[in-house]
């Protein structure tokens, strides 16, 4: 919220403090001052009066002015403003004047060959925010009142603009400080300087003539103050205008400004009704109106249950806290008003405003939680403000509908408990000082906070007051009494980390992609779940509307992004949780594109299926899952190349899919894979235990066979392992080749044999022959050259 420093200074005595002191104290007490600046900033200004105004012949819009600037003399000034005219009193920026808002310094100069010795200014040029000024004020030079003292150089003070604006971040627990009175009380407590109470006028001296009713518990309090015989002042006083400006509010008319100014001071939003239009003086609140409502600007709104609506004796006249109905606007001619001060449940106001796309200043205020017990104080103060805005008025009634339960908060407080919880050593007198400053009454161990402090409810709230009142250094940081526990990564966390680091060591770059994806990405690439993904009800854009059920669409788009940026050799991975209607899964996505430079720097080869397969096999074996435990089948997934991709199964579960993307999905040969890492991590694998190895060296025999088309490597391994060779230790592929001018593919296998002793030549021969025979018998494989 924006605060005028000079208005705050009127409410609390800040004479002995600099602005910086106050800013610092607030910031370190939980009220961060996000910014502070001069409302208007300019030196060397003077009030002048235009003595003559002649058009400049050479120009279509310039005027040559003679301006009486008092002791500065009569100055020739060339001015482009349309509203420059003889007799007008204006703000003159003299040569040497720095206008920070425009970043310029005024100099004597020549415009169209004529001397110009200054500039007539608008308020924009003095640094005021355009949004706070009227069209007229923005388009021309500022028009001073007829009684402005010509020659006065104290221009900013005359305009009431010699002020500083503080932008204070008021956090949701302190609605009381969304007002000048509240903020002034806070500053008074923090600095120990007196708060100057505003005069209050007893409400109950006025007759009760309104008929007020609330038909909903969302409005427990509704008060009206009737004011008639109003003759409003012609203008809101300059000083109030500038307080409004500094607070970020545009001055509109005295009667509107009264409402806004009172709201700023007290924090209680006020609404004004034209009392003449409602001779029944009945105001009642409903929350179950379903029907149309015509707003003051003629807009038709469809209301439904939950919207808080104020009715007169027959019809809706106001959307509570948001906007007035048709014909209900207060104008300069209005001479009889009902000032409403009510407590509307903030969430209803907010929901209605959001649903109908409406936003207003009072909605912003009503939309926040307010203290309903402050209504009396707010109206009592408002009455004392009336003479500032009205030449003449009469208060004809005050009525209240009050269904609020009576309120008294008691807090059982213990200093010992506080010091135990904070690890502090605050003393009794330190606490007493805080209680005194914050008007918290103490009777024994019981504390009674003042009614304006809705946030003080229990012991910890008092602890917070004490902590923020004193320097944070009062509490000495220490780990004393901190619980001692054995921290560790779980098995799953440890292996998740190991796999990520394995991949990084293998040259993969880890990526982090968005969980929310668009509809098309959501439909592409589902490996595990084909169920509909979670959909966001309130997405920010269509690009981020679905909660992804799979990582591969993101992987593909990131590969493609990089390829489009001429970065083609890619090894990427991502480990991420995925939330689906079935629960939370942990997936690992892999992506390869371009060339593998590892084995040959000069002649790299494109990544292929087996690069990805090798990595996946390594990951599985890192988890203790060896290749006998899983099966590969050509992938059934339509997004993948049917002959160049695989589904991995363990038992009946699909645990992963990898391979080349289908050419219809990606023209670039991308290799992509996904593993259900969470499932793999949940599988049991044997504990690592040392098994003594044979100290006799293994014997290796290499065999080459001509391959038949239908035989797979897996078939060959199975046959060899089942050939009844007890000495068989391992089989390794060492070659796969075609001879020149032949279609036959040969496979070269290394057979490793061994036992606990030396194998004799005839034993070896016997073993090898068994294998050859089995392959011939079961798979019709012939030895090369046979």
């Amino acid at each position: 919220m924006l605060f005028s420093y000079s208005l705050l200074s009127k409410l609390v005595d800040l004479k002995s403090y600099s602005l910086e002191d106050v800013v610092h104290r607030l910031t370190f007490s939980g009220f961060e001052v996000e910014d502070y600046h001069h409302l208007a900033l300019a030196s060397k200004l003077v009030i002048g009066q235009i003595l003559s105004c002649e058009p400049v012949e050479e120009s279509d819009h310039l005027h040559a002015l003679k301006v009486d600037c008092g002791s500065e003399g009569v100055l020739d000034i060339i001015c482009g403003a349309k509203n420059a005219r003889t007799g007008l009193k204006v703000i003159v920026a003299l040569p040497g004047c720095e206008l920070k808002a425009l970043g310029i310094t005024i100099k004597k100069g020549y415009i169209c060959g004529r001397e110009s010795n200054g500039m007539c200014c608008s308020l924009v040029e003095l640094g005021l925010d355009k949004s706070l000024l009227s069209e007229k004020e923005i388009s021309g030079i500022h028009e001073l009142n007829a009684d402005a003292p010509v020659g006065s150089t104290d221009v900013l003070n005359y305009l009431g603009l010699n002020d500083q604006v503080l932008d204070i971040n008021v956090l949701p627990n302190r609605p009381d400080c969304l007002s000048y009175i509240g903020m002034a009380r806070e500053i008074s407590a923090l600095l120990g300087v007196p708060f100057k109470e505003l005069p209050r006028i007893d409400l109950h001296q006025f007759p009760s003539k309104f008929i007020l009713k609330s038909h909903t518990d969302k409005c427990p309090r509704f008060d009206c103050l009737g004011v008639d015989q109003i003759i409003a002042k012609k203008e809101t006083p300059n000083i109030i205008k500038s307080f409004l400006l500094a607070s970020g509010i545009r001055s509109i008319s005295p009667i509107v400004d009264l409402g806004n100014f009172s709201m700023l001071l007290t924090g209680q939003p006020l609404n004004m009704y034209n009392a003449k239009l409602n001779p029944s003086l009945t105001y009642q609140v409903f929350d179950d109106y379903e029907g149309m409502f015509t707003a003051f600007d003629g807009k038709e709104l469809k209301l439904k249950t939950g919207d808080l609506v104020v009715f007169d004796d027959k019809k809706p006249i106001c959307l509570a806290g948001i906007l007035a109905g048709q014909n209900e606007s207060i104008t300069d001619e209005t001479d009889s008003i009902a000032i409403e001060a009510a407590s509307f449940y903030h969430a209803n106001i907010r929901h209605t405003a959001i649903r109908l796309g409406l936003s207003s200043f009072s909605q912003q205020l009503f939309g926040k939680s307010r203290n309903p017990y402050m209504i009396d104080e707010a109206l009592e103060m408002t009455i004392s403000l009336l003479p500032l805005f009205f030449e003449h008025y009469r208060i004809f009634s005050y009525s209240t509908y009050n269904n609020l339960p009576s309120k008294e908060t008691k807090i059982d407080f213990s200093l010992e408990k506080m010091n135990h919880r904070l690890g502090s050593s605050y003393t009794d007198s330190q606490v007493s000082e805080v209680l005194k400053r914050y008007r918290i009454k103490k009777e024994g161990d019981l504390l009674y906070p003042p009614i304006d402090r809705v946030d003080l409810k229990e012991q910890c709230d008092i602890e917070e007051e004490v902590f923020r009142f004193y320097d944070a250094d009062e509490i000495h940081p220490s780990l004393k009494n901190s619980p001692i526990t054995a921290g560790k990564l779980s098995y799953e966390q440890k292996y998740r980390r190991r796999i990520r680091e394995f991949l990084v060591n293998k040259g993969f770059n880890e990526i982090l992609s968005f969980t929310l994806i668009d509809e098309k990405m959501d439909k592409d690439f589902r490996v595990f779940s084909q169920e509909p993904s979670y959909r966001i009800l309130n997405p920010m854009t269509k690009d981020h509307e679905y909660v992804r059920s799979d990582l591969l669409a993101s992987m593909k788009s990131i590969l493609e992004y990089n390829i489009a940026h001429k970065q083609t050799d890619l090894q990427l991975f991502e480990v991420s949780h995925v939330d689906t209607a079935h629960g939370t899964e942990l997936y690992l996505a892999l992506g390869l594109s371009g060339n593998n430079y590892l084995t040959d720097l000069v002649n790299p080869r494109p990544y292929d299926f087996f690069d990805l397969k090798g990595i996946i096999a390594d990951i599985l074996s890192l988890l203790g899952i060896n290749d006998s435990r899983y099966q590969l089948v050509y992938s059934q997934n339509k997004s993948f190349h049917p002959m160049n991709s695989a589904d991995i199964h363990i038992g009946k579960s699909l645990v992963g899919t990898f391979g080349r993307l289908h050419p219809s999905i990606s023209k670039t040969p991308l290799l992509i894979g996904e593993l259900n890492l969470g499932y793999l991590l949940s599988l049991k694998s044997g504990k690592t235990k040392f098994v003594p190895y044979s100290s006799y060296p293994m014997v290796r025999r290499d065999l080459s066979f001509a391959l038949n088309t239908n035989v797979t490597y897996r078939d060959i391994l199975n046959v060899i392992h089942k050939a009844g060779v007890s000495d068989l230790k391992d089989v390794k592929l060492f070659d796969l080749f075609k001879e020149k001018d032949s279609d036959v593919t040969y496979i070269g296998l290394s057979i490793y044999l061994g036992k606990d002793g030396t194998l004799k030549e005839d034993e070896i021969l016997g073993d090898v022959n068994k294998i050859i025979a089995a392959l011939k018998d079961k798979l019709c494989l012939k030895l090369r050259g046979e």
């Binding site: 940081p477 009494n481 619980p483 990520r500 770059n509 880890e510 968005f514 929310l516 990089n562």
Partner: protein, 348 residues
């Protein structure tokens, strides 16, 4: 032969050997030398065979002379042989010369994403302090995300965290505190709890400094004696670990619905070191995390007896830490995953 004749013959043979050994340049001439001077037909052998003609009183002297001769020729031979081997080895080594400046067969280094590098770093720090790590779903119940954190429906601070809804009861978690609710539920009101919850969170927020997706590490400690002073020390240690011992840490009171008292921690600005600059908006400090003592209401809501237990909680933004630590200019870089960006973090 008398002794003088033998001496003469030895001298002569030695002279011949010295002359011949110089001519030896390779293995074959070395073999010739061996045949000529140490072989069966060598002077040495002849002298040995004549030993029987030597009178017995001179045998000892002559024998020694001949043995010495053989010894000397052998040494000559051995020396030459070694010399030749060394030359051959030297030649072989020269032939095997490589250009050591050619590139190696390097597995190019991959990289952790800076976001996860920070998560790992913070995780290791807290494991060292005895914390466990908790995970939880990102699609979370409104109950866990808000209500258990003392943010009932319509609470004004829901505005601080505008969340993505899926149904009336399901949201994308807006903070990882939701995991804390799960941890507290699992511990059934019995402490101590010491846990951090790192993960992705989502808010309807998107501008130069915010992304709708970002990361948080939240921590929760509940025991009978955990204090605010413990919290301040834990945060000081964490921030110095992350940003270096030279950083100054300061605390400001703040407000969060789930903690009271609440604080925000600032660290001295990286650019100016605390004197004030554009980067820190002239404050000299950069806001880095929020924390506080667990609100008794949160303890009660989550099944802990607030007259027995107390604790603290904190939350730090992963992206923000990574941006500050690695001088990253735009949060969007994290999610674009340009390989040129990713590759820069190979050391992490």
């Amino acid at each position: 032969m008398d002794i003088n004749e033998i001496k003469l013959a030895i001298e002569k043979e030695l002279g011949a050997c010295r002359a011949d050994i110089v001519k030896v340049v390779d293995q074959s001439s070395l073999n010739d030398f061996k045949g000529l001077h140490l072989g069966k037909k060598s002077v040495c052998s002849a002298l040995f065979s004549q030993m029987r003609n030597v009178p017995s009183e001179s045998k000892q002297i002559v024998g020694k002379l001949v043995v010495d001769l053989r010894q000397e020729i052998s040494e000559m031979f051995n020396k030459k042989e070694t010399e030749l081997k060394n030359i051959a080895l030297e030649k072989q080594l020269q032939n095997e010369k490589v250009d050591i400046n050619l590139p190696g067969y390097s597995t190019k280094l991959g990289s952790k994403h800076p976001f996860f590098a920070v998560v790992d770093d913070i995780t290791d720090f807290f494991v060292g302090l005895g914390y466990d790590i908790a995970d939880g779903p990102e699609v979370e119940s409104d109950h866990n995300n808000f209500e258990m954190m003392n943010i009932p429906k319509d609470h004004p601070s829901r505005d601080m965290q505008d969340s993505f809804s899926i149904t009336d009861e399901l949201v994308l978690r807006s903070h990882t505190s939701a995991v804390q609710a799960r941890v507290m539920a699992a511990s059934k009101g019995v402490g101590p709890i010491k846990v951090i919850c790192p993960g992705k969170v989502y808010r309807r927020d998107n501008d130069a400094t915010h992304s709708h997706q970002f990361g948080q590490v939240e921590g929760l400690v509940i025991s009978e004696d955990a204090t605010f002073a413990n919290l301040l020390e834990t945060l000081t240690l964490l921030l110095k670990h992350l940003f270096g011992d030279k950083r100054k840490v300061r605390f400001r009171p703040s407000y969060f619905p789930f903690t009271e008292p609440s604080i925000e921690a600032d660290i001295s600005c990286f650019e100016c070191g605390g004197t004030g600059c554009k980067f820190c908006k002239n404050t000299g400090y950069i806001e880095i995390l929020g924390a506080g003592m667990v609100h008794p209401n949160v303890l009660r809501l989550n099944g802990f007896d607030d007259s027995k237990y107390q604790g603290f909680a904190f939350g730090i933004g992963i992206d923000r830490v990574a941006m500050l630590k690695y001088n990253i200019d735009d949060i969007k870089r994290f999610y674009t995953n340009d390989i040129r960006f990713l590759s820069e973090f190979y050391k992490e």
